[in-house]
């Protein structure tokens, strides 16, 4: 090490820029940023962000289709109701590795936790845009308690779980900034945080469905069931597993240089393993959905328009991916498992949109007009998705997530 590098390492601003630019100079870094993907992303953000500004200048009516009959639109239908089950990645992976002891899945834990953390963070961002007075978001926690409300429970759990996931992910951040001693502390609390994570997830994943229990006359009877909380919880488990498969697939394709050999060479067998677990849980969910119809004796409704839609959901978006995943596992084909995982994810999104938007207020006239989001709102959602991807990539590029930092080898927990 020559004098220059020592000096560089010791000066904080220099170290900071070094971390931020991944060891490149400003010129090199900016040059590297100009890619077709980034240009498209920038265009989307340049359109979407001003629209978010418009929401805070002219009110929700200017950008969303939220109305007095349909208070929750695609911002929450997508951002919260579909986003949260797909962010179950953190608790399913941490449980697999730290609680159930499947240590061979270790290369995927950090990716799972980060995906989960980012998912919740962005669910909160969607929420902050949608709620009327976002600066009061802490009111259920500190100002006025409404303990009979399921949403009160959701508010507490999502905010607590966001903190838990940040702590779960903190070792990666601390390794990135080389904070050795703090990292030791962060590692120590892993098990406690994992257990807290499972409890909080069980409750708020199911609570997001339980919110609709209060609207029995509004949600279509095929989707309204006393089992909604159980459906939502169970589907979050395979949602999380499939999301890990999907995100790791994408990372292995486009961020190959940020992943280490352990990650890349183990990915296929691990994918098949996750697919096996997902198929089992998904099959249980499929059977439960049928029991739900039987329990409420809703068989006759299956012959109606909404009934056909329900059959599409559970056969084409639950049963079919179960078959794909099972065949993939049987043939040991990671490719087929990946295909099934993406399909299952689509199924979860469809289910949550059905519950919160498509079948909500099914008995009102003009219902179909209301379920189509206006362009401005769709663009806001698109720009947040884009921002989500950019931030995700930014972190994956810098922190040891897809790879192990050689200075910090895996320790026993």
């Amino acid at each position: 090490m020559n004098d220059e590098t020592i000096a560089k390492a010791e000066s904080f601003p220099a170290r900071f820029t070094d971390k931020l630019l991944m060891g490149m100079s400003w010129a090199e870094y900016s040059k590297k940023l100009i890619t077709p993907f980034n240009i498209v992303a920038m265009i989307i953000l340049c359109v979407g962000f001003p629209l978010i500004g418009l929401r805070f200048y002219k009110g929700l009516a200017a950008v969303t289709h939220s109305s007095n009959e349909y208070p929750w639109s695609i911002l929450l239908g997508w951002g919260l109701f579909a986003g949260v089950p797909l962010s179950a990645t953190g608790y399913v992976m941490a449980t697999t590795v730290y609680i159930l002891g499947y240590k061979k899945y270790h290369p995927l834990v950090r990716l799972g936790v980060l995906t989960g953390f980012m998912g919740y963070l962005f669910a909160v961002i969607y929420l902050l845009i949608d709620i009327g007075r976002p600066w009061r978001i802490y009111y259920p926690m500190a100002v006025s308690y409404g303990p009979t409300s399921v949403l009160f429970l959701v508010a507490w759990h999502v905010s607590t779980y966001l903190t838990v996931q940040l702590l779960e992910f903190s070792p990666a951040i601390l390794e990135w900034i080389r904070a050795q001693r703090v990292r030791k502390w962060a590692i120590l609390i892993t098990i406690a945080m994992t257990i807290a994570g499972v409890i909080l997830s069980t409750l708020h994943q199911s609570a997001l469905g339980a919110l609709f229990l209060l609207a029995p006359g509004k949600v279509h009877p095929l989707w309204y069931s006393t089992f909604i909380p159980v459906f939502n919880f169970i589907s979050s488990i395979f949602g999380g597993l499939c999301m890990v498969i999907a995100v790791s697939t994408v990372c292995a394709r486009w961020l190959r240089d940020k992943a280490d050999d352990t990650f890349l060479s183990n990915l296929d067998p691990l994918t098949v393993g996750l697919g096996k677990a997902a198929a089992v849980v998904m099959f249980v969910y499929f059977v439960l959905k049928l029991i739900g119809v039987a329990h409420d004796d809703n068989w006759a409704l299956l012959g109606t328009g909404y009934g056909y839609w329900f059959l599409v959901e559970i056969f084409l978006f639950v049963a079919l991916p179960v078959v794909t995943l099972s065949v993939g596992v049987k043939k040991n084909s990671a490719g087929l498992v990946r295909f099934g995982a993406f399909h299952a994810i689509a199924g979860i999104i469809l289910n949550r949109l059905n519950l919160s938007i498509i079948t909500f207020n099914y008995n009102l006239p003009d219902h179909f007009h209301h379920i189509v989001p206006p362009a401005k709102e769709a663009l806001i959602v698109l720009s947040i998705i884009t921002f989500h991807i950019l931030l995700f990539r930014w972190i994956l590029n810098r922190m040891p997530v897809l790879r192990e930092d050689p200075d910090f080898p895996e320790e026993d927990h």
Binding site: N68, G132, I137, Y145, G146, L203, A210, G273
Partner: protein, 302 residues
């Protein structure tokens, strides 16, 4: 007798408050919630709560109630004047600038049009209150369900929960949006007055009084005129009973009254879920710790 009932009422309230206090203080906030607020089986609402009886056969659709409500609550002026009949061409609902609206129906089973006045029904055990995560709603002993904009953060879950599609939201307000709905003229009735719409009604279609008296009155009307009325008081049992009661000459579903809602208060629907919360909280940590202990020395194989 009166005294005993009063004592009982007080007992219920303080127990409720105590439980809520304990729930919050004991960290139940993180954990979950007390199911014991409105959903106490023994609590059947405030005994002296007031209500309104609407006789749909008397209403002539003059919209005087809309006008009186607008003036009493100092709401913004209407888009079309209150004596304009063209508004009946489409079905309206209460909005951020109208606590009440009157709609016209022409059911086949009736030879003359019927008018339905829509506003907050002031449920005995309101689902908006059960839904609100910041307790912005209060059911007062007078019967009004009141909303407090000072704590509301605009989640609009109350709107999702209301079976009657009542709470309206200020979607055009960027920074200070609030929920807007009928207050049963709380300011007036708490001083012994009567709600503006009831006072303004020239046809005697809206009667204000103690809810229990109104139910007797409605039953009498139906008994005396069985050919005129159908044998049902809408609001007597729906979602646990509402302060607004309706009698009609045609079935209520022909007038868009929700007819697929339970007779139990809606908060009962979430009771089972909320009571499962403590189970998860106690069983999960034990189970997970056991799993961890059992597998901690397991090798890396599946």
């Amino acid at each position: 007798m009166e005294k005993a009932r009063d004592g009982g009422k007080k007992g219920t309230v303080s127990r409720r408050q105590l439980l809520q206090g304990l729930a919050v203080a004991g960290g139940a906030a993180i954990i979950g919630t007390s199911t014991e607020v409105f959903a106490d089986g023994k609590f059947s609402g405030w005994p002296d709560r007031r209500g309104m009886l609407t006789d749909l056969t008397e209403c002539v659709g003059c919209r005087s109630c809309e006008k009186a409500c607008n003036e009493a609550n100092r709401l913004p002026g209407p888009e079309v004047p209150f004596d304009e009949k063209s508004v009946f061409e489409r079905k309206r609902r209460p909005t951020a600038s109208a606590y009440t609206v009157v709609n016209r129906y022409e059911p086949k089973s009736s030879d003359k049009p019927l008018y339905r006045k829509v506003q907050c029904n002031h449920c005995n055990e309101p689902s908006c209150a059960a839904a609100c995560p910041v307790k912005a709603y209060t059911k007062t002993p007078e019967g009004s369900v009141l909303y407090n904009a000072d704590v509301c953060f605009g989640c609009r879950y109350c709107m999702v929960a209301c079976p009657f599609y009542v709470p309206a939201y200020d979607y055009d307000s960027a920074l200070e949006p609030k929920i807007v709905k009928c207050t049963l003229c709380y300011g007036r009735i708490s001083k012994g007055g009567i709600p503006a719409c009831a006072e303004a009604c020239p046809a005697g279609a809206v009667t204000f009084g103690k809810r229990s008296d109104l139910i007797k009155l409605a039953r009498n009307k139906i008994r005396k005129n069985p050919d005129k009325y159908i044998d049902r008081i809408y609001g007597e049992y729906e979602v646990g009973g509402t302060s607004w009661l309706y009698i009609s000459s045609v079935p209520f579903d022909q007038l868009d009254y929700p007819n697929n809602i339970p007779e139990k208060p809606l908060v009962e629907q979430t009771k089972g879920f909320l009571s499962a919360v403590p189970m998860v909280l106690t069983i999960w940590p034990a189970l997970l710790t056991m799993c961890y202990a059992a597998t901690r020395n397991k090798e890396g194989k599946e």
